[in-house]
Amino acid sequence: MFDLQGDSLTKRFGSFTAVRDVSFEVPSGSFFSILGPSGCGKTTLMRMIAGFEEPTSGDIRIKGTSVVGTPPNKRNVKMVFQHLALFPMMNIGENIAYGLKCRGENKVDIRRKVGEVLDRIGLPGVEEKQVSQLSGGQKQRIAIARCMVLEPDVLLLDEPLGALDLKLREHMKIELKQLQHQFDTTFLYITHDQSEALVMSDNVAVMKSGRFEQIGPPEQLYHAPQTAFVAGFVGDSNRFEGRLSARAGDEARVTLDAGGEMVARLGQEGLSDGAAVSVFVRPEAISAHATRGAAAADMVAVEGTVDSLLFNGANSRLLVKLDDGTQIESSHTTGAGAGARFAPGDRVTLTWAVADGLCFAAEGGA
């Protein structure tokens, strides 16, 4: 059973197509994210679901029933806005009670329900506070409670963490996921931050210029991207541009634009020889060695000079400039028992397994 389905949804503003033929299905109780760069049409898609825009074509079904033409206040999808849109002229209790009042529930019920939902989000007794008296994270939870008290079929969240500061954001990621478990409601979450999407979601749709590029669980997107865009957008990657010179099985031989050759796994089918391709290698797949010895058969090895060490605890990076000028980031373990350490200026050999390099048609091409 799907709580929410989109069927070839398209939205045009004048001659500009903001959402183009998008289809998806969100299973009941799951956390579904839409991840894409700014301006790719995420908000437009969500506003169509909420009823603030009419799709130019296509259908939206909530619990199986088409809602195209239903006004926004009649749809049982609730929305958490980017800047929360808490009503500043009401106190917290009134904010949460608003939807219940609109439904015409009686006062006693409203009081009880408001109290209950505040308990569930861990903020009991704040009914009388003003919106401005709460911290960013608390407001966030109130905005969610205001929707959840109405027991919606689907909760829409439009970059709700965008306005929070870094630390709080990290924290709210986990909390949001837990709230979703607790309420056991379908969440449709929009973000342009890949780490948010990866951490929280059961399924992620990667969107680009109004289209869905790939839908899948986070691990799949990370480890088995299907296009260059997804490979580059999800997680950190080193990217090498070149042309496909030969193929053997699922291995590709690529002539790099900067000079030299590289062997990588084919991430995509249907590439023909001579096509412009990009090869992606994740920093954590790369290991650095003091320049010595030859590489194993199924390994790629490149040589370069250490440019700088970016210490960041477990996330430290080694910045290496190859002899052809390309800059490569590799993971770098530091600290007491961390083995070989490097200083800027050292010569190093970077190696990775051929299977860790993924080759796709270059963006803009095919």
Binding site: R47, F52, E53, E54, P71, P72
Partner: protein, 287 residues
Amino acid sequence: MNVAAPQSRFLRATYSGYLVLFFIYLAAPLVAAGVFAFNDSTFSALPWKGFTLDWFFGTTDPKVGMFHDRRLLRGMGNSLYIGVIVAALSVVVGTCNAFLFERKEFPFKSVLYILMVLPLVIPGVILGISILVFASMVANGVENGTGIDLGFLRPGLFLVIIGQFSFLTTITSLVIAARLRKFDVALEEAALNLGATRVRVLATITLPYLAPALFSAFIVGFLISFENFNTTLMLVGSDAPLTITMYDRMVKVGSTPVLNAVSFFLMVGSGLLALISVLAQRQRADD
């Protein structure tokens, strides 16, 4: 979709209809006043007797055009003179006030702030009479005590300027303070940090930033002064500004379309000024 707008076609049509009516309501009396400036009749009333420019340029009685009517011209001159002085003065003091309330901390600040906005809610007539009364009390006191006649405290240009200045300053202060509030003090600090002296900072950073507000405050001040009636009425002496001259003409001599001509002229003039000031504001919204 704009959620603020009505969604049903009927409501939308009604709404648009209402707006059209409203703007007709706004325009009607002005258009009427303007149109009759061109009526070839000695009365600003129907019937329409044909088009003429005599009420602007005519030289012979009874159709002496506004540009040949010495008293109207003198009134306009007085209004210009008063307007420029009042606007300049109130921009200067308004700027001081803006800095005072936006930048300085001092005891009773909030009380003084309320005092600053207070003139906005004192009816103009009362400002007029209170300044008249107070100035007369001072002048009489001085005259009775020393025999010196402080003529400038008697109704006349000085009191008119003072009277208009008394409430215009609130308006200019608010306009300039609003702009100053948006000013990021970091800009001044950055300039200081880059080695500028305080005076240089004021001249190269703060005042250029305020310039659009100073300009539009000046225009607003000038226009309000130009059209002011209530306060001026009580304070005017022999140098009457245009509104008073027109009023006297209307109720004491009789209105001919020359008043329509003046009205038309004023509408065009202040429309242009307002447009300039809006454009200046627009520019400032861009930066």
